[in-house]
Symmetry: C2
């Protein structure tokens, strides 16, 4: 029994963070990574020249600079246990140089797969993974020869720099092909063409992997794109158990094959009852946002654990069904924050805002909802998302 | 069909945060509030003079200053939609003055209940809520007269400033009573005594409330204290449906009675099969940490929604059972972050670190685990917590 002393205390040592992680990029993926980092006692630094970037506004430490500057990359890496990425736009040569001085995960070689669509197709095809028929385009004649074999229309893609539907074109005939080829060549951009796959649906499989070789595969999600932008994701994907199982095994093989570290998203086409690998993202991905609220371990926590070579968490869904709906900037200027209170009226909705300024079609946030079945979850998520777009 | 333009963009307007919230205090409660604020697009500012406070390290904006300085409180309130609290140590007079210039939630009057244990007992008893027998102590004779009626030992409590077992003493007889009285009087502290309740167990009920009168009650949790410090929490509390129902109705009545805004934690004694109100916290509380991983809406998101007068979220458990175990500083210096990887090996464990320096018995983090039953969840959470304390 003693009377407690006053609150004056001796100077205390400072707690060491459990790890320091540097992230190239500071968008919404980095923002949600910052949320996960807090719980794990990780200090996250982000490389960006935008003091109002989503992750900086969420409290990640800003390293002023650009992914295109070798010195800035080194500054980010200084004092960090590992450097990772919220986008795949960094120059592979710069990353290679960085990797001589710092731990870079995923490796620059692996990231090439996500940067260059032609490289990805080639490596995957060479490794025996199913991909759409494709060819590198060196001249307009390449497109015409490919179309003669596979039929018009064909899908043309910029090798690099495309995302959210940018850098992808459907070509109906030789005239469009030549026109596109000329315009891209003038812009210094290279091209590949692919068969236009007769889609039944699109799936995404997230796999987490750490350098010690531990692998966790999430359930299979179905994605709904519109104009190439992900609009909605539902889980579990309403496909048979056999196809889902194949999709998971395929995704794990791809993750192993590209030596992924952290989270990898494998986007799959389903066509003629078969799976084709569409694209890879070697980072957390829009298709996995629902893992925050619907899975035991979010893709953002999982990515941190993976790149730090820590034990991974479980990936199961914590509810029978789940849906995620993106909040995209409406045609007319409007801030979804203005509709937040209305969105929160929707029971079971989990709202996530990114702190980004409005632009039409821009991803400004997302809503996840759980439910007893996919329809129920989707209805809830759509209602909340609509409340913010209508505001 | 068009070739995408380059990435150069017009200067963009900055996204408005959905709200700006000021919080007095920057400990682990503010840190976890910052995590919740990110998702809702809320900018959180915290008042503290410690640049390494847990919430500041998590990225909340620091307002340098102290809760004991009227000007600092005003600086915090500037530009904020509402001011709220992660502790109840602020001077009621200062808060009253602040409330003339800013929205303060919960109200200074309500907070008095959490600051002054005698005031809380009186208000609750006057309102007809069941509380342990108690009396204000003006002289050592008051203690002896109370003990004559209720028997030794009695429980003595400092009216203000006590937490985590500090400021609470069990008195076995008149000699100890006089000794404590003298020592507290010398320190300028006032006292009350209570009957020593023959406890069956302790419960905690969290209630969220907003000024428009919406109320959400969480399931009943059972808490396990040791030396007055919360060690473990399990949910649902293994009590009968009738008692659980009474506990929830009692907690909601208390929340309404004290005009709570945001989250209130009502700590209850179960004695002789009946409920007694022990203590109140008009803020997120240790007993509710499990809501982050186990409930649809965490107490931190709920507190923000409550003080902002936004619609509240659902409170149900998302799993059959859940347990939370605090990570307390061990006797010998040690940073739980060193044992983090080992803790993450435990399946189903959710680890939360606060970024605080070690001190014996100090709350440095917590672990939550879900399970099919309470025993399973508790075993998992204990294993992960032990891994960090043993490190």
């Amino acid at each position: 029994m003693s009377v407690a002393a006053g609150v004056a205390e001796m100077p205390q040592p400072v707690a060491t963070p459990s790890a320091r992680v540097g992230m190239v990029g500071a968008g919404q993926l980095a923002r949600m990574t910052q949320q996960a980092a807090i719980g794990l006692g990780i200090e996250l630094a982000v490389l960006t020249d935008d003091a109002l970037a989503p992750a900086v506004r969420a409290g990640a430490r800003q390293i002023h600079g650009s992914a295109g500057d070798a010195r800035d990359l080194l500054t980010l890496a200084e004092g960090c246990d590992v450097v990772t990425f919220d986008h795949e736009q960094a120059d592979p040569a710069l990353l290679g140089a960085l990797a001589e001085h710092a731990v870079v995960r995923p490796s620059p070689a692996a990231q090439l797969m996500a940067q260059d669509k032609l490289e990805a197709r080639r490596v995957l095809a060479d490794s025996g993974f199913p991909v759409p028929a494709f060819v590198a385009v060196e001249s307009p004649g390449d497109i015409e020869r490919f179309a003669a074999a596979h039929g018009w229309p064909v899908m043309a893609k910029s090798r690099t720099g495309g995302y959210d539907g940018r850098g992808v074109w459907v070509l109906d005939g030789p005239e469009q092909a030549r026109d596109l080829y000329d315009r891209l060549r003038a812009a210094g951009r290279a091209l590949l063409v692919e068969e236009l796959v007769d889609l039944e649906c699109e799936l995404a499989v997230l796999v987490a992997r750490n350098p010690r070789g531990q692998v966790v595969c999430y359930p299979v999600f179905q994605t709904h794109q519109h104009d190439g932008i992900c609009h909605e994701v539902i889980a579990p994907a309403p496909v048979g158990a056999e196809l889902a199982d194949s999709a998971q095994r395929l995704a794990v093989s791809v993750a192993d094959g590209v030596d992924a570290a952290g989270v990898i998203a494998v986007e799959l086409f389903v066509a003629g009852g078969k799976l084709l690998v569409n694209e890879l993202a070697l980072r957390p991905h829009n298709s996995g946002h629902l893992t925050i609220d619907a899975c035991h371990t979010s893709q953002f926590e999982q990515h941190l654990r993976g790149v730090l070579n820590w034990p991974l968490g479980r990936g199961e869904l914590a509810a029978p069904a789940c849906a995620m709906v993106n909040v995209l900037g409406p045609a007319n200027p409007g801030d979804p924050a203005a509709g937040l209170a209305a969105a929160l009226e929707v029971p079971h909705a989990h709202v996530h805002l990114y702190g980004k300024p409005w632009r039409p079609g821009r991803k400004l946030g997302h809503v996840t909802a759980l439910g007893d079945d996919v329809d129920e979850a989707l209805q809830r998520a759509r209602a909340a998302a609509a409340a913010m777009v209508a505001a």
